[in-house]
């Protein structure tokens, strides 16, 4: 099994090389700004001088979407082995997986009914 990961490891090195290459060539070419000014290096805000700090406060809405995502993500870790063994499972075992999914669907419906999935 580990032999297969030799390839993955080398591909990772190649990918890293590619990334560093694209990143490094302009750096090696020394394409630095010849004239620098504070106007040039200001954060771009459509022509206005930036005002205040960039880390503005966010709505908790984003956090709720991430929560729902997290729950479904963990569900996937359970369901992938289940789907993999699907052919070997008896009917009731498939039903168990279905109940697992239905419980999560219930959670989704609850969140939905509470109005947490609305974009405010």
């Amino acid at each position: 099994m580990l032999e297969q990961f030799t390839f993955v490891g080398f591909l990772f090195l190649v990918a890293l090389f590619l990334g560093l290459f694209m990143f490094g060539v302009p750096w090696l070419l020394r394409l630095r700004p010849r004239k620098s000014s504070s106007y040039k290096s200001d954060p771009y805000e459509c022509g206005l001088r930036p005002h205040g700090e960039a880390w503005v406060q966010f709505k908790a809405q984003y956090y709720i979407f991430a929560l729902v995502f997290l729950v479904f993500d963990v569900e996937a870790v359970f369901l992938f082995p289940w789907a993999l063994a699907y052919h070997h499972l008896a009917f009731y075992a498939v039903l168990e997986g279905v109940i697992f999914i239905l419980l999560l669907t219930a959670a989704l419906i609850y969140v939905w009914r509470k109005g947490a999935l609305e974009w405010m």
């Binding site: 591909l11 990918a15 590619l18 990143f23 504070s38 200001d42 503005v56 984003y62």
Partner: protein, 411 residues
């Protein structure tokens, strides 16, 4: 002639033979071949991307009724073929502006992570029949792809956070809200495919490996057997690669480019390349999972044709992508989120339950034709049900809101 039938594998064996003849021990030659393979697999998507940029310009120009790169005023080679090279040179030689107040390490790391994640996906892609034509036929196959595509999310957050720009932060938040959300229908539709493959390949074979997903499509491609997961997967993938109608990450007219706003020169180019690589990867995944991958006529006699079919299928899906890109408008963020959470996710959850149960009820001895037919019928029924639910919902909304009072679209 015989050589050409399986040309890619033969060339590999020939090089390895040369190495062994040159006095290398066999394990060392194996390692060298693995490295060569990694280079080939790593650079293939990049080559496709360079070609894709050219094709995208041509096709989008045609769709938009514009002149393409071959008539941009300056000479760009026959059919504008030199255009992508000019693009690359331009990108490499542009001035690299460093904005004030950036967080240097995450800022520079983000584009690298995007490129790395986009390349890593290709490790498990089957380019042709046989174990030699897959980089590594991992037994977690498709799950590996999902893992790396979700790891790329973090790059967006890093870029957004470290750019010291309000647009970038808002863009990063939006990007992640979109990419996170649409990952779920994507993986749920893949789960359906895995279940079905499991009952097609039987006790042997590993339904997570992409090679056996291709092998399971021997009788019929999955686009026909499982049209619903195919549709869900494609829509979710469009959102994952930030294509229209889900192009909210870039949204140049409201977010000025989202997380990429403070990136210039090649660092911006890496985001650009990463995006194109993503669309190639998604097209390749769709071709593998739903269009039969390397399957096509005469593959049995000449396995090298499998690679050709595979590339042609990728090309076809890329054209579909270009078509979507050029013809659809951008959704609003509430529509985008509602479409995912209130339509795609419940639909695919429902589909998993129904298809899982129905597929299990088909007796094990059933021919693959019978199984395919029943699955297709189930899919169509679910699609009709979804359509009916949507129609009823629309009707009720119309009854509730009097005409003219801003009816919510697509929610």
């Amino acid at each position: 002639m015989d050589f050409l039938r399986n040309a890619i594998v033969e060339i590999g064996l020939w090089i390895e033979g040369l190495l062994i003849n040159a006095g290398l021990a066999e394990p060392a030659a194996d390692v060298i071949m693995t490295v060569v393979g990694a280079f080939v697999v790593g650079f293939t998507p990049l080559m496709i991307v360079v070609f894709l940029i050219w094709m995208y310009r041509k096709v989008s120009a045609r769709i938009g009724g514009r002149m393409g790169p071959n008539s941009s005023g300056t000479w760009a080679g026959p059919w504008g073929l030199v255009q992508p090279i000019a693009d690359v040179i331009k990108m490499f030689t542009k001035e690299d502006i460093r904005p004030q107040g950036i967080d240097v390490i995450p800022y520079n790391l983000a584009p690298i992570i995007i490129v790395v994640a986009a390349v890593m996906i290709w490790a498990v892609m089957p380019f042709g029949p046989g174990a030699e034509m897959v980089g590594a036929d991992l037994n977690i196959g498709i799950f590996y792809v999902l893992a790396f595509s979700s790891a790329a999310l973090i790059a967006f957050l890093m870029a957004g956070w470290s750019s010291n720009n309000k647009y970038a932060v808002v863009g990063a938040f939006r990007a992640v809200a979109q990419l996170l959300g649409y990952e779920i229908p994507q993986l749920l539709s893949i789960l359906i495919v895995v279940m079905v493959v499991s009952s097609f390949v039987g006790p042997q074979g590993n339904p997570l490996s992409l090679q056996s997903i291709v092998e399971a499509q021997e009788g019929m491609i999955f686009l026909v057997v499982l049209p619903l997961p195919a549709l869900v997967f494609w829509l979710a993938s469009l959102a994952e690669i930030n294509a229209r109608p889900f192009e909210l990450l870039e949204a140049e007219s409201e977010l000025v480019a989202g997380v990429q706003i403070e990136y210039s020169a090649m660092k911006w180019g890496m985001f650009y390349v990463g995006e194109f690589m993503g669309s190639v990867a998604v097209s390749a995944l769709f071709a593998t999972i739903f269009l039969g991958g390397w399957r096509g006529p005469w593959v049995d006699t000449a396995p090298v044709l499998g690679t050709v079919w595979f590339l042609l299928k990728i090309l076809f899906m890329l054209n579909v992508w270009t078509f979507f890109q050029m013809t659809l408008p951008r959704l609003r963020i509430d529509q985008m989120l509602a479409f995912n959470w209130k339509f795609l996710v419940p639909l695919s959850l429902f589909a998993i339950c129904v298809i899982g149960v129905v597929n299990k009820l088909i007796p094990e001895g059933a021919t693959s034709w019978l199984r395919s037919g029943i699955l297709l019928a189930t899919n169509v029924v679910i699609l009709l049900l979804a359509w009916a639910v949507l129609a009823i919902g629309k009707r009720r909304r119309e009854l509730r809101a009097p005409a003219g009072a801003g009816v919510e679209v697509g929610a």
